[in-house]
């Protein structure tokens, strides 16, 4: 008994010394940019500040961790779709797109051509919806309330289109393994083209009010520079990677569905600072409008949109890894099947989780006032990273 007590006393002495040592760093102030903060979304990270400079940053995700991967093992391939799209509610056509591609490879399903086109159109629309929301929050992080209202308002155009297409404004549950759930409504193509034309004019107005605003440029130019070597080494993805000079887009590198028939350029910039990371999504949005026009043009007039499936499809034992370019970057699914209708293991590799590693790398050594512009420019969606 005495020995146990001795052991306990030793432990607490050690702890006490640790507390004393930490408080010797009196100059450092620990800030918890926590989940209940208007500047972080559902994400917590701890920073230690010396005056105005950040000396230590530690991300602590998991506030909205739901156990998506574990839940997938309890439902069959089609039942997994509704809960898998919850991590990113408004970009749900992309997060279920990748899943559908992997399941189709495992089970061996051939998607009809018109279904492939509609899937791609939904993916592009959702990419616009997500990027506009991200841009709106970027505006409000820097204090620009008009830049919060305009993209959120323009986003309603695309949400209306997705509403007409799938029946729900967000969490569309539109993609299933084998195609899409239902066909386009009448008049969708004209409505879509009208909205795209209006939106392309609005993109110019965004540049005028935000991207060429001297105060915005002052706050983001040269801030949080991520070099090309670091970007490749840290394995970031999406617009963060393209802003550091690596022209990598999965739609071009490994085209899935009908993307090999679409002619578009990968948009990238070389500077790697926050301004480039804010600019690349704007260029992506412009390019996305071109892609949507081509998709609407080349789509077959009629046809099946969904392959005929069993209610509970299953395939031979195996594994598959497919990926898709979503709003945040490469979204990959690694699915292992053991021959039953339910997957054996599903691993979701999301762009936000991969970009998180750049946050301590960029924040340490920069100013506290730069924290919002660096953090949000990493295109981090907290709910998706937590799954």
């Amino acid at each position: 008994m005495a020995k146990n007590l001795e052991h306990q006393i030793d432990e607490s002495e050690k702890l006490g010394m640790q507390i004393v040592k930490e408080s010797e760093d009196d100059r450092l102030m620990t800030l918890s940019v926590g989940p209940q903060h208007p500047g972080s979304g559902h994400f917590r990270f701890t920073i230690k500040v010396d005056g105005d400079y950040v000396v230590y940053c530690d991300p602590d995700p998991g506030y909205v961790h739901r156990g998506e991967e574990k839940m997938c093992e309890y439902r069959n391939f089609i039942q997994n779709i509704p809960h898998l799209e919850r991590p990113v509610i408004h970009d749900s056509a992309n997060i279920t797109y990748s899943y559908s591609l992997a399941v189709e490879e495992l089970v061996g399903i051939q998607v009809p051509r018109r279904g492939q086109f509609i899937r791609a159109i939904a993916s592009e629309l959702d990419r616009q919806i997500y990027t506009l929301y991200w841009l709106a929050i970027y505006g409000i992080f820097l204090g620009h309330s008009t830049m919060f209202m305009w993209p959120t308002g323009d986003r309603e155009l695309f949400i209306d289109l997705m509403d007409a297409l799938s029946g729900a404004r967000v969490t569309h549950a539109f993609n299933i393994p084998g195609g899409v759930r239902n066909d386009m409504p009448l008049g969708f193509k004209d409505k879509c083209l009208r909205h795209i034309s209006y939106f392309e004019k609005r993109l110019k107005e965004y540049e005028d009010i935000f991207y060429t605003n001297p105060l915005f440029i002052q706050r983001t130019e040269g801030v949080g520079i991520l070099t090309k070597e670091d970007a490749i080494r840290l394995g970031v993805t999406g617009s963060v990677l393209r802003a550091s000079g690596v022209p990598y887009d999965i739609r071009k590198a490994e085209p899935y569905d009908v993307y090999n028939e679409i002619d578009f350029k990968v948009q990238y910039m070389k500077s790697g600072d926050s301004l480039a990371r804010a600019y690349v999504p704007l260029l992506d949005m412009k390019e996305s409008c071109h892609i949507m026009r081509q998709l609407l043009d080349k789509m077959p007039e009629s046809g099946e949109v969904r392959a005929k499936l069993q209610p509970t499809p299953k395939g031979p034992p195996g594994e598959a890894y497919r990926r898709v370019e979503s709003g945040r970057g490469a979204l990959g699914y690694y699915i292992v099947s053991d021959g039953s209708p339910k997957p054996y293991r599903v691993k979701i590799s999301v762009g936000s989780f991969r970009n998180m590693i750049a946050l301590p790398h960029l924040l340490v050594g920069s100013k506290l006032a730069d924290m919002p512009s660096v953090y949000w420019s990493l295109n981090y969606w907290p709910v998706e990273a937590d799954r």
Partner: protein
Amino acid sequence: MATYPQEYRFGNFVASIIRLILWIVIIVSLVGLPIIFVILFYVPLPPVNGEVLTPYLFLSMIVDPTRTLPILHFIIHTDIFKVAVFPGFSFAALFAAVTIFVERKFLAKMQLRIGPLYCGKIEGILQLLADGLKLIAKEIIIPSGADKPIFWAAPVAFVATAAAVVALIPVAPGWVAANVNVGIIAVFAILGFFPLIALLFSWASNSKYPFIGGLRALHQMIAFEIPFFLSALSVVILSGSLNLTDIVKAQNPYWYIFFLPISAFVFFISSLAELERIPFDLPEAESEIVAGWLTETSGMIFGLIQLGSYVKVYALSALFVILFLGGWAGPQIFPKELSHGPTAGLMGLLTLQGIYNGVTANAIFWFVLKTFGIMMLMLLPRGISPRIRIDILLHTGWYKLIVLTFINMFIALALIYGGILGPGGLLTAH
């Protein structure tokens, strides 16, 4: 509300009427009559048409309303009216309230939305009242470990200081709550009090985010006070007086903004920084430090600080108008008198005999119009700019703006010594 309706009996109705009469009699006899007797016996009352105001005369005014006009005239020219109602606190508060509402609508139109819509029948005009009532009803949460006396005193001091600035501002010739001969210096001395209040309040909140916000507020306000009064210094050089009323009178016929555009610009930017408006709202930067030094405010404390903020907006816009835009100068569009010669009876009442002064009305009109214009100009950057960063802010305040004010000061001195302005100058009106 799920209550069942009361039985409507005639007896209850009569009982309520009698209750009402009882209360009126009690209040009048116990409270009202003593007040009237105190006023009539101890307060010097103005003579009405050559007669001393007796209770008989007072009660007869109810019959003949035209006799109330001299009383009104007397009340309007007392000091307490000038301090409390016009051009003092109530006028400023009304201006502030209108500004808050107009700001919300104006920003909404810029941002492709509508703004308040449902409170009040016309375009949400009662929204401010609803917000005020809501704030009054909220619970005031004081963090543990906070310094309670300062926590309660600082918001009140904030509003009081803003009101003190308002008291020095002349709205029309002769209409100023405090006609101080060193008007401008008094204004800047009072304005220098604000960083202290911000710092005290943020320190008393005992929390990290207010601490950072308070330090930022301190740095910002101190950095911009110097260009602020250096730009006003050029105006003082040109006008030769520190009294605000004299400065307005000296801007005849040309306003100072034509001679001192750079100073006006610097004054405008510095007042945006003093008011903590976007793009200078670092102390309240929402995305970085929650709400800055206002984080721990809740309920009416927040309401008081908002009120003080917008009263300060009115005060600094009015100051800009007085220093650079000629105050109340403007073409006379109101008739000098509503009637020719003294009239009596109903026409006397309608023409506000003895109260209406054409010059004053004109002055008030032009002053309000100009101040409103400048306030709209101050609201505009909120829609088009993001927030500035602290190091760029301090660099601007300490380097660039001070240099610009010195340039304009040399221009002002050149104008005086060149004989263009100042006493005996070419452009001075006599």
